[in-house]
């Protein structure tokens, strides 16, 4: 699910790139310089790990056959604001080394995954402030994983369909977007369950991973 080069009209292409760069700069500026350095290897190796995990095919009944995890919620929960630089790096490597995605649409793809990830980050920050654990944390994780996919899918199809020529019937557009999003419900469910289990796993084995949030510059 990547927006390829060539698809986006001028304004959207420029706007999304500017916005993605802006959010990334903002994310980096929030972290003090020394802290940034300690976070570079962590963010990099985790980005590599996310990349590998997201390539894993999980078997599904036909017609899906198999699905990939999107991992936006997990990225948000572990990397917080660093999700943006991590996504730019990951998507850049994906475009350059493996030829998936695109260069001119780097910004759009980063936003598409980064916005839901950031939402989950806020959700988890709230959970941390309430010191949630056990079942409530599980529910929250499921909601995060599920909504992460739904929002990313809506953003994707919204962009793809919404940017096509205006001569298409608006009502038809809305219906198509809804229908396509609906067809991703099983994936959102899987991702929700995955999120519940993996948060429990990390919580038990390496809780620091769920709390990577850098100190902010005062």
């Amino acid at each position: 699910m990547h927006i390829p080069d060539g698809l986006l009209p001028n304004a959207i292409m420029i706007g999304t790139n500017v916005a993605a760069v802006g959010v990334t700069a903002f994310a980096l500026a929030r972290i003090d310089k020394n802290e940034q350095r300690t976070l570079v290897p962590k963010a990099s190796l985790l980005t590599a790990a996310f990349f590998i995990i997201s390539a894993l095919r999980i078997p599904m009944p036909p017609p899906l056959n198999s699905v990939h995890l999107l991992l936006v919620a997990l990225m948000g929960a572990t990397l917080g604001w660093l999700t943006f630089p991590a996504l730019i790096v990951g998507l850049m490597l994906q475009a350059l080394v493996f030829g998936h995605g695109g260069l001119s649409t780097l910004g759009a793809n980063t936003l598409m995954l980064g916005i839901p990830a950031l939402g989950v980050h806020f959700l988890f920050q709230w959970a941390r402030s309430r010191q949630l654990s056990g079942r409530p944390l599980g529910v929250l994780s499921f909601v995060g994983g599920f909504l992460g996919v739904v929002i990313a899918v809506l953003l994707f199809y919204g962009t793809v369909i919404g940017t096509l020529p205006a001569e298409i019937n608006v009502e038809l557009e809305r219906q198509a977007t809804g229908l396509l999003a609906l067809s991703h419900l099983p994936i959102a469910l899987i991702e929700g369950i995955f999120m519940v289990l993996i948060v429990a796993y990390l919580h038990r084995v390496q809780p620091a991973l769920l709390n990577l949030h850098p100190k902010q510059v005062k």
């Binding site: 429990a200 796993y201 038990r204 084995v205 390496q206």
Partner: protein, 249 residues
């Protein structure tokens, strides 16, 4: 019936031959030491025996039945070189139960096997711990317990003493010697091989170049040297090792 029979076993990656015709018979209960330099083909051999890799030629037979690549063969267990590559569950108990659960055993049977495997490896007190927080020696024992719980008749140990300190190594040796399964141990730790193996195989460039009594094979200085190995000190008490070769500058 032999425990393991390899007949003319070949394995190649595209254009890279790894195993070049291995014939081998191992009797039930035997403990085999496998030695040889890195790149000799040991790991590939193990993967063929376990059915992870399909031989390009030849056959593998385990307790009279052919090994089908891609199938699950609980009668053979492989203990990986790095325990962290093998233990991934969030608790020691879950990890050891992983194999028995996949075998479709009933819950009481699973529990009984896990308990027994933990007792044999003396890790019952670690049951609830996360494997990630254990010491190297403990992780090794958890990995072994995870294999033992499947009750394999053949256990393959790949460099089992790597990264262990002497206490952990000693208890590992005790464990291997006390077990009654057929065992294959590959190691650069020749003293360990000497202590546990009944028979030793020397593998180099995908071929078994020598096999026989461990003390005889490993005591043969010319043979060992020809394959990048050194005679273990305990077989070679009087002549001190050559001091390091002069370094080229």
């Amino acid at each position: 019936m032999t425990a393991l029979t390899l007949t003319d076993l070949h394995f190649s990656y595209p254009a890279v031959p790894v195993l070049q015709g291995i014939d081998l018979q191992i009797e039930p209960g035997e403990r085999i030491g496998l030695i040889g330099p890195n790149g000799a083909g040991k790991t590939t051999l193990f993967h063929c025996i376990c059915g992870v890799l399909a031989p390009t030629k030849g056959s593998v037979e385990l307790f009279g039945r052919p090994v089908l690549p891609g199938r699950f063969h609980p009668e053979v267990g492989l203990v990986f070189q790095y325990p962290s590559d093998q233990i991934f569950s969030p608790s020691v108990y879950d990890d050891i139960a992983f194999g028995p659960l996949n075998m479709g055993l009933p819950p009481e049977e699973v529990a009984a096997r896990v308990d027994q495997a933990m007792e044999e490896t003396e890790i019952a007190h670690l049951k609830e711990r996360a494997p990630h927080h254990l010491s190297g020696g403990q992780k090794r024992m958890v990995a072994i317990a995870g294999i033992r719980a499947m009750r394999p008749q053949l256990i393959i140990y790949d460099e089992p003493s790597a990264n262990l300190d002497m206490r952990a190594r000693r208890s590992l040796i005790g464990h291997i010697c006390a077990s009654s399964e057929t065992v294959i141990v590959s190691s650069h730790d020749l003293e360990l091989v000497l202590e546990v193996a009944d028979r030793v195989l020397l593998l180099d460039e995908g071929r078994i170049v020598a096999e026989g009594d461990p003390a005889v094979i490993m005591g043969d200085q010319a043979l060992m040297l020809a394959h990048g190995l050194e005679t273990p000190h305990s077989l070679h008490p009087h002549a001190h090792v050559p001091t390091a070769e002069p370094h080229k500058h």
